[in-house]
């Protein structure tokens, strides 16, 4: 692809990146950072391409190291983000039963 097209795509991606996270509550800062962290693990695609072109053993070794590191970033990033967000999911269920807690409190106050 020619340079100008890549530049156009880059500039548009900057604005999309600014836009998608512009209104996020501080509660979600950590999972969002972790999710973005996982996404840049896509450097794995670059590492695979480089490893697939490596001709001598030394270059292949370095490229495979890049593949290992990139995979750790990608897989680990998505798994740890999912674990964080699982807690939020659990919280929603608790939120659903909050009526019960209020009832209990009401009873104590009524007694």
């Amino acid at each position: 692809m020619d340079g100008i097209s890549l530049l156009t795509i880059t500039v548009l991606a900057v604005f999309v990146g600014f836009e998608v996270v512009s209104k996020v509550s501080s509660t979600l800062h950590t999972p969002l950072m972790s999710g973005a962290n996982a996404i840049h693990g896509i450097i794995l695609v670059g590492a695979i391409i480089v490893a697939g072109q490596a001709t001598d053993l030394w270059l292949l070794a370095v490229a495979l190291l890049a593949v290992v590191l990139a995979t750790a970033n990608l897989v680990g990033g998505f798994v740890v983000t999912d674990r964080m967000l699982h807690m939020f999911h659990a919280r929603k269920e608790v939120g659903g039963s909050k009526a019960g807690t209020k009832e209990a409190r009401g009873k104590v106050e009524g007694a």
Partner: protein
């Protein structure tokens, strides 16, 4: 051999890029966050399958083996890590991503004749190396493998300037000559710059630096996409770079800091000017029974959880104590500082894990006016986020950070391990106030004792 027409490859990459945009958007709202993350993972899967089907690849068994090794190491760690240690794990994953980008750029140098491509390689090498080394230092700080205090030495600004100038010189030389040896020199200079960048950053600011380095890695990945002519890497890397920058600023704003102040504060000196002399002034030490009486006969109690609670794994006991008090008809809320724990939102995650109802978790803006009506503020393992020095002492490293107005409560009880200052390393005047009492010990043990005493009231 290629199985896929280039047009199909481009379409699959486009699908992956759309997935990443939807992932970031999903992650910005609590309802859609989990789905957003899964969409992101799906996008990554599509992209990896596409590259195997479309590029002319040698060494495929080796590559698959390396992927298996990376996944086999990272997935169990990510699954098993304690939620309290999650920030340093994110730092670690970010660092290895930056390292991978730098290695990809290094290997591509042999194929690059165009000076613009070499410029992108130099950028990727340098930024990737800074991210790798900087993340390593943040990991060591958060894991407390080294001191969490800012590390400064005389001449640090001079050394940093020298390293950066040398890096620029090496970079120009790489662009002109395409020499791999010089590229390795550049890599080493980048590693040095990463270490020097993070060493002077104080403990409480480390999470913001993780976010900044995350944005750096994104930019390095985008630049490596320019090197390889791979649109997906350009889009994904730029997305992370841009959103990471916004996120870093939002995090810094939540702590009342500026990003430049965090990075360069220690260079200017004076940022560590907290009163490090632990004074011998008397404090009011209290017993679990005394605390139980205070709490048990209050009408309104606000619990302020901090990192100490998380470290002691005391969130479940704190939740039980809140239930026991509510059963006595006492109004109990949890006041969550935006940076309670070690990262914004960290404490919400930990308390949600302990099944504390969402409605009891109050954000700072909402709860601060209510401290005036509280009989007791129970501060469990928190220090910096309630330290009035943030408002009064302009030399203090936390000056300007919004705090929870615990001092407005009629009584303040601190559950603390010791008189040691908090993560930011500053003494807390509130500990010496007449309305304050302290119960020393591990947060979980203290809470359990108080809970037992409340039940016998």
């Amino acid at each position: 051999m290629t199985l896929l027409d280039p047009v199909w490859t481009s379409l699959l990459y486009l699908a992956a890029a759309v997935c990443f945009i939807l992932a970031l958007r999903g992650l910005s709202s609590p309802r859609t966050a989990r789905r957003g993350n899964l969409i992101g993972a799906l996008g990554a899967l599509i992209a990896v399958v596409a590259v195997f089907l479309s590029a002319r690849l040698e060494n495929i068994p080796w590559i698959l083996g390396a992927i298996a090794v990376g996944a086999a190491v990272a997935a169990p760690v990510a699954r098993r890590v304690k939620m309290t240690q999650m920030p340093q794990l994110v730092a670690l994953f970010n660092g290895v991503g930056g390292g991978a980008a730098a290695l990809v750029a290094l290997l591509e140098l042999g194929h690059a004749d165009d000076p613009w491509v070499r410029l992108a390689i130099v950028f990727t090498l340098l930024v990737g190396a800074v991210s790798f080394a900087g993340s390593g230092v943040t990991f060591a700080k958060l894991q407390e493998l080294m001191t969490t205090r800012p590390v400064v030495f005389p001449g640090l600004p001079v050394v940093m300037t020298a390293v950066l100038l040398a890096a620029v010189a090496a970079g120009v030389a790489v662009i002109l000559t395409g020499s791999s040896a010089l590229a390795v020199v550049l890599l080493v200079l980048g590693l040095a710059a990463g270490i020097l960048l993070v060493l002077p950053v104080g403990g409480a600011d480390v999470p913001i630096v993780i976010s900044l380095l995350n944005a750096f890695t994104g930019l390095a990945v985008a630049a490596s996409g320019l090197v390889l002519g791979n649109v997906l890497l350009v889009v994904a890397g730029t997305l992370v770079g841009a959103s990471g920058t916004i996120l870093t600023r939002a995090m810094a704003a939540a702590m009342g800091r500026s990003v430049a102040g965090i990075l360069f504060g220690a260079f200017r000196g004076g940022s560590t000017a907290g009163s490090t002399a632990v004074s011998e002034r008397p404090v009011r030490s209290s017993s679990a029974e005394d605390v139980a009486v205070l709490l048990g006969y209050a009408q309104r109690v606000i619990i302020v959880p901090g990192y100490g609670l998380a470290v002691a794994q005391g969130q479940h006991t704190a939740a039980e104590l809140a239930q026991a008090l509510e059963a006595r008809g006492i109004d109990v809320d949890f006041a969550i500082h935006p940076v309670a724990g070690r990262m914004p939102g960290h404490m919400n995650v930990l308390l949600a894990e302990a099944n504390v109802p969402y409605e009891s978790l109050k954000e700072m803006g909402e709860i601060n006016p209510e401290f005036k009506t509280a009989d007791v503020a129970l501060v469990v393992g928190a220090n910096d986020v309630v330290n009035p020095a943030a408002k009064t002492s302009s030399g203090s490293p936390i000056y300007g950070m919004p705090i929870l107005e615990v001092a407005d409560a009629r009584q303040v009880v601190f559950l603390k391990r010791s008189m040691r200052p908090g993560f930011a390393g500053i003494e807390n005047e509130l500990l010496y106030q007449p309305q304050t009492s302290l119960l020393f010990g591990d947060a979980k043990d203290s809470l359990a004792q108080v809970l037992g005493a409340v039940k016998t009231l």
